[in-house]
């Protein structure tokens, strides 16, 4: 599974949403599922999927689908274009 697929799977499983919902417009609090509780679940899914432990500043900055991909590059996780 590619990193992009792992990343998308974390979102889909955390929020029980379809792949079509994923994209640059997906931000924190723009769907009911991405609330404070959902955010914790998403971070946990990503930490498990990529075997990382995210720093608190990054968890705070993780405000959108797009921003999340940028932040994960700090953990040497890259996404193919």
């Amino acid at each position: 599974m590619s990193n992009k697929e792992k990343y998308n799977k974390a979102f889909m499983e955390s929020f029980s949403i379809e792949e079509t919902v994923l994209g640059e417009s997906l931000e924190y609090n723009t769907i009911p599922e991405w609330d404070s509780i959902g955010h914790m679940g998403l971070i946990a899914e990503l930490e498990d999927a990529f075997e990382i432990s995210m720093e608190m500043d990054d968890i705070i900055d993780f405000s959108s689908y797009k921003k999340g991909m940028e932040l994960l590059s700090k953990y040497e996780i890259t996404f193919e274009a």
């Binding site: 499983e13 955390s14 029980s16 924190y28 609090n29 009911p32 609330d35 404070s36 509780i37 955010h39 914790m40 679940g41 971070i43 946990a44 608190m56 968890i59 705070i60 900055d61 993780f62 405000s63």
Partner: protein, 352 residues
């Protein structure tokens, strides 16, 4: 409204709580989550089942001094608690005191919420609360039928104002929680079904509180009608799975399968009265300390030495565990202002 991402201190504590629960098989264990503070017990309504005896004016003039409110909030934050709930009585009877208390608590550190009957919560008040960094407002609704709710609450217009209040809360970007009390008397009613559907349709969160034989209901001696039975509990689980926006404090909010039970929250969420007495939860009127005499840390450590509160209980002790209720919650006159003392009612073997 300040979202979670604008409250870094809260996020850090919530992450710690989430990680603890995850490592502890979805159970709350001895991880503390928050404070329920009864700021003042005066109320404008006279609900049949009030657990604080507000309808009889019990200690209506007592309030916790603001210095102590500040100290409690600081200690709770220090202990890693992420939730802070102000309740009454009715908080919006005294808005000046409420906003002074908010300043003392500093809601930016917490998932901070108010529990209110909504009677005085108009759009302007909702705006003020949102500006004060309140995250959520919980409003209790007793029935989808206006007349039934107003009868239970003892005041006309209370249903309409409560329903409007939830809308104002949502308009101002706070989390609207529609609280429903469910007991044996209504678990299978069409009313509950309609309330849950309405809350779901409006994108609110539904918080189910099981009816507890304490406060006014203790005096009415209606325990058999009040306590949910096995079939009622199955009904609640079915509602949880179907609606997905329904929470109970004993359920694991992080569980995506809507199945896991966090466990009873006694001592995990401390209830503090306007006199400073600390009870193990709002509904179990057992005192484990007083904030004027001990630190929250000392009180919590003492509370968790009592095995009933330390050990995992998949049942709400106050609303579902009949043995616990009859042994420890049935003392004549027991109330939030006249709690049983833990050292009196528990035997040596109850302590670990």
């Amino acid at each position: 409204m300040a979202s979670l991402l604008d409250k870094p201190r809260l996020l850090k504590k919530l992450k710690s709580f989430h990680d603890y629960v995850r490592k502890n098989n979805g159970q709350i264990g001895t991880k503390q989550r928050g404070i329920d503070l009864n700021l003042n017990n005066a109320c404008n309504l006279t609900c049949d089942y009030c657990f604080t005896n507000s309808p009889i004016g019990d200690h209506a003039k007592d309030t916790l001094p603001l210095d102590m409110v500040r100290s409690v909030a600081d200690q709770a934050d220090e202990l890693g608690m992420f939730e802070f709930d102000l309740q009454g009585g009715e908080l919006l009877l005294r808005p000046d005191y409420l906003f002074d208390a908010l300043e003392a608590i500093r809601p930016e550190r917490f998932y901070f919420y108010l529990t209110t009957n909504g009677y005085f919560l108009d759009e302007a008040m909702a705006k003020r609360l949102a500006e004060a960094k309140v995250s959520r407002v919980s409003v209790s609704i007793d029935s989808f039928d206006e007349g039934t709710h107003d009868k239970i609450r003892g005041r006309k217009e209370s249903w309409r104002r409560a329903m409007d209040a939830l809308k104002h809360v949502q308009n101002q970007g706070m989390d609207p929680y529609l609280n429903i009390t469910v007991g044996h008397y209504n678990a299978f009613s069409e009313d509950i079904e309609m309330l849950c559907k309405y809350s779901d349709d409006q994108n609110y969160t539904t918080l189910l509180n099981v009816a507890v034989p304490s406060g006014m209901w203790l005096k009415l001696d209606k325990m058999a009608e009040v306590i949910v039975d096995e079939k009622d509990k199955e009904r609640l689980i079915e509602l949880r799975k179907r609606h997905k926006n329904i929470l109970r404090n004993i359920w694991n909010p992080f569980d995506k399968n809507y199945e896991q039970v966090l466990g009873c929250n006694t001592v995990n969420r401390l209830y503090i009265t306007p006199l400073g007495d600390v009870l193990v939860c709002p509904y179990v009127h057992v005192k484990i300390g007083n904030v004027f005499e001990q630190s929250l840390k000392e009180i919590s450590e003492y509370g968790f030495r009592i095995k009933h509160f330390r050990e995992h209980s998949p049942l709400c002790l106050a609303g579902e565990n009949k043995e616990f209720i009859s042994k420890y919650m049935s003392t004549e006159g027991q109330s939030i202002f006249n709690p049983s003392l833990a050292e009196d009612i528990f035997a040596k073997e109850d302590f670990v």
